[in-house]
Structure formats: C-alpha cells, structure tokens
Symmetry: C2
Subunit: 254 residues, 2 copies
DNA sequence: ATACAAAGTATTGCTATGCGATTCAAAGTA
DNA sequence: TACTTTGAATCGCATAGCAATACTTTGTAT
C-alpha cells in the first residue's frame, strides 16, 4: 500500500483513516482501541484520533454496551453512489434481473479492480446457496468464473501480472492452485468466450461467466450465472444456458 | 457538518476527503477539478490534493479519455464489509429472500441512520419496478414505508427531531408533505405495528413495512415488501401479506 | 476490600505535514 | 497567434496532526 509516498500532494491522513476502516470485516466486527493499534500498527494516539474522527463522521460507532468500535450502515453510502451512477451497472441491471428470473440462478456483474473482481450487481434466484458475498465483495481471479472471464480480457503480460499477485489459497478441497493450469484455462476462455468453474471458491457452487468490456468507460468485467451442483452439472449448465448468458452479455455490451 | 470542530482529536483531512467522495452521485458522475472546487468549496490546491490522494488510494479514477474524476468500484468495498459483518443483516437475509420469492415483490431491510433510513439488504422479485435504489441508498422517513415504520420505534421527542430535519420534497404528485399528518400516521404505526405507503416516493410503488428492533446491537430499522399498484391496492396487499411480513419480522427479531 | 494492571480518555508542546499562493504547462477559443 | 481556462507542479509558512504522557476508568487478582 504505502510505497514510500514522499509525495507532496499525497495526504497521508486520508490513507490512515481508510486503513482503519479496512481492518473491520466479518471475522473482526468489533474492535477495541488496542485491537486497532495492533491491526494498523498505529500507536495509541493515532488509533485514537482516527477512530474518534471516523466515529464523528458516522462511519464507526460504539458497539452496544461496549467501548469497542464497529462499522455503521453509513459505510454503504459511498459505494451506493457508485452503483447508482455507473453507466455499465445501470445498463446491466435489468438484464441480470431477467436472467436470474429465467434461470432461477444467481446472477452477478463484476468489475475487474486491480488483481481481483468486485461484485457490483447481484440478483439471487431460487436455486442458490446464499453465501455472504454481496455487492462490494472482492473476489480472487483464480478460483471464480467471474474472475477468470474478466481476466480473459487482459493481454498475456497483464494476465501474468495479475496471476502472480493472487494469494492462491486452497479455498475448498477442490480448489486448483496451479498457476500454470489456471493461466491455460483463462487463455482457453479467451478463445471460447466463457468460463465455467465448479467447487473452487465454495463447494456446491457451479458458475458460468462471460466477459464484459465497456468501451465507453474502459471497464473490464464479467456477468455470471451461478447455480448449485445439486441441480446441474457443468455440461447441463452449458447446454441449457450458455447461449442465454452470451446473448445477455451481448445486450449489455451494446 | 463541520460544527466548529476545534477538537484536537479530530482529523480534518479525513472529513475533507469524504466530502469529496460525497459530491459524486448519479447526477454528477464525472467531475473536473474545477467542479470539485465549486462543489466542495475548497481552493484549487485542496481539491487537487484530495482528488490526487483518493485517486492513488483507488477510490477515484480518471474517466476514459478525460481528466475528469469518477468513483470506482472500490468504493463499494467498505460498505460490503459492513453488510458481511453485521449480525442483523446476516440474520435477516434468508428471511427477506424467502419473502421475496413467496410474494414476488421486492423486499428490503433498512436501518435508521440519523434522519433517514439506509437500505442494507434488498431482494427484487418479479413484480417490481427496478428503480435505482440499491443497498446503501439513503431514503427519507416521511415518504417511505420503511422510514415510517423505523421511525415508529422512536419516542415522540426523537420523532419530532427527525421529522423537523426532513427535507419535505414533493417527490411525486401524491407525496404528502404535511408534517403533522405524517407524524400522526407514524404514531398510528406505533399502535398497529405496520406502515403502508403508496405513490409517495415514486409512482406505482406500494409498500408495506414492519419495524425491526435489534436489541443486541440497539439498531432500529424495518423490513419492507414492495409491489406495484398495477397488481395490488392497499387493502389487497394488507389482506394477503401483512401476516406473512409480520411473522418474518418476528423471525428476524428472535 | 484493596492493590494492581490494562485499557480508554484527555492534555500538551513540537514539528512535520498539509496549506494556499503562485508559477508553469497544456488544451481549448477567437 | 494571442488569449482564456483548466490542470499540474513548486515552495515557503503556519497550523493541523503528531507522539508522549498524564489522567481516569474498568476489570482482575490477591
């Protein structure tokens, strides 16, 4: 993160504040001041100042009956304005909704951001394991269909850079963490125009993704249809819905 | 916002950075540096410094083929961690999903934040006008069922304060902006335990809300079922679904 | 109960950081 | 080509943010 920014325009306090917000997550929902010092590396004064400021601004609050801090609903506001304003997201939404209704699967639009994709639109159908992933969730490239499809829009040099930066965790017993194999699969997506991934990020998840490139905004991403392995296998999914997902992507792209 | 904070713990740069992010919205998606100076009141240098910093941090980027700034998908990340970590949101999600599937309407969970509610979970059904509102959207109390239901959990003094702070816009030709009448309606919700609102925020929207209080976290909010006036009138909606929405709320509360 | 430890809160003086004025460069207009 | 407007870079100065420390509260062990 802080690559020796001796940059006179760079306001360090802003980075520090965001770093405090960034240490909160599902595993660390409630953090004391001393937790914050440990997780950020700041000293007591710094942690105190930034927590205090973020509390005043309404992005942190004290947990009920405790002096610990937690995120507030207000943290969702900034991102919501992105979602509401982004042309690609707005354009894609009705198509994704429709696709979810027709297939009863979960549909998402993701956008490539750095070495991961971020979910920016999501519709859950009947046939879906509702995991905790939501709009705003950041997911790796190597073990998600969305990630692989989006990454297939990169040239080989960019792709290598992105793959080198993956954390390569064994998320499920099935997760393939062989970088060379994944690279070949993504290059395969480049040719066939879609990615299918099963049991790689969570078990029982079977996903079919098609890349999306918005030339207007120069954003790379993918739309994804997720179903459960209880109801489909890979071939069935492709046979039944590949054409539909691809035509949805075409509609969004135009 | 900046109520004379001569507070030595308060880091003003953080506030300034968030203010820059806050000027972006659906109407103002792409802003030049001079736009930013005008909308924030900062001078050229300040606007430059904060835009530069936020760009480095990845929350702003340049629009394609332009020097204007726009929000990035990364802005959704902080909020996503709230959504993923908040106990109430996690608990409510499957119930809301179910309610949406059963009714084919759109369901939401909102949380009271200051003088508005914020959508923190949302499921769209078949029968729904997909507006631009999403998770993270901030909505007024006076003209939404969610807002009124949530506000019905406040005592009279708090309620008056919240109502006094509303902006009382005539959002549709039907919007009731009579503060006294709205107050009476919210006091009515307190007694009957639900709120029904039609055509107040957008036309053709018909919503039924029940308040939610999470004693664990001391959060006040509401769940909402929205359908279109094309398919239901108020009485039909109540007859058909009030009991279901109420039992959903009970399930979430326990 | 009392002493002790640990965590949170408040204060203060110092200086590095962020400030705004200004200059420089580029792009768009007439 | 001159002129206007906007964005990028530079630079001393003062103040905003810093770390140390003192104070207060809460929890724990004796």
């Amino acid at each position: 993160m802080s690559h020796e920014k001796k940059d006179s325009l760079y306001v360090q306090s802003v980075e520090k504040a965001f770093k405090v917000l960034a240490i909160f997550n599902a595993q660390q929902r409630a953090l004391s001041l001393t937790d914050v010092t440990k997780l950020t590396g700041y000293n007591k004064s710094g942690a105190q100042r930034f927590c205090y400021t973020l509390e005043k601004l309404g992005f942190l609050r004290r947990c009920h009956n405790s002096s610990d801090f937690e995120l507030t609903a207000k943290t969702t506001e900034i991102g919501a304005r992105f979602i509401e304003s982004n042309a690609l997201v707005r354009r894609a939404r009705p198509y994704l909704h429709n696709l979810s209704l027709k297939t009863e699967g979960a549909t998402t639009l993701s956008i490539l951001d750095g070495n991961e994709v971020i979910f920016v639109s999501r519709f859950l159908g009947r046939d879906v394991l509702d995991t905790t992933v939501t709009v705003g969730s950041r997911l790796p490239i190597y073990c998600t269909a969305s990630g692989r499809a989006a990454a297939s829009l990169l040239d080989e040099q960019q792709l290598d850079a992105v793959l080198n930066a993956q954390s390569w965790e064994q998320r499920t017993p099935q997760t393939n963490i062989d970088q060379q194999q994944i690279k070949q699969q993504i290059l395969g997506c480049q040719r066939c125009g879609y990615a299918v991934v099963q049991d790689q990020y969570v078990m029982a998840d079977l996903s079919l993704s098609v890349p999306i490139y918005d030339s207007q905004s120069d954003l790379r991403g993918a739309i994804n249809l997720a179903v459960t392995t209880a109801n489909y296998n890979q071939q069935q999914l492709i046979d039944k819905y590949l054409a539909l997902v691809q035509s949805t992507a075409r509609a969004i792209n135009s």
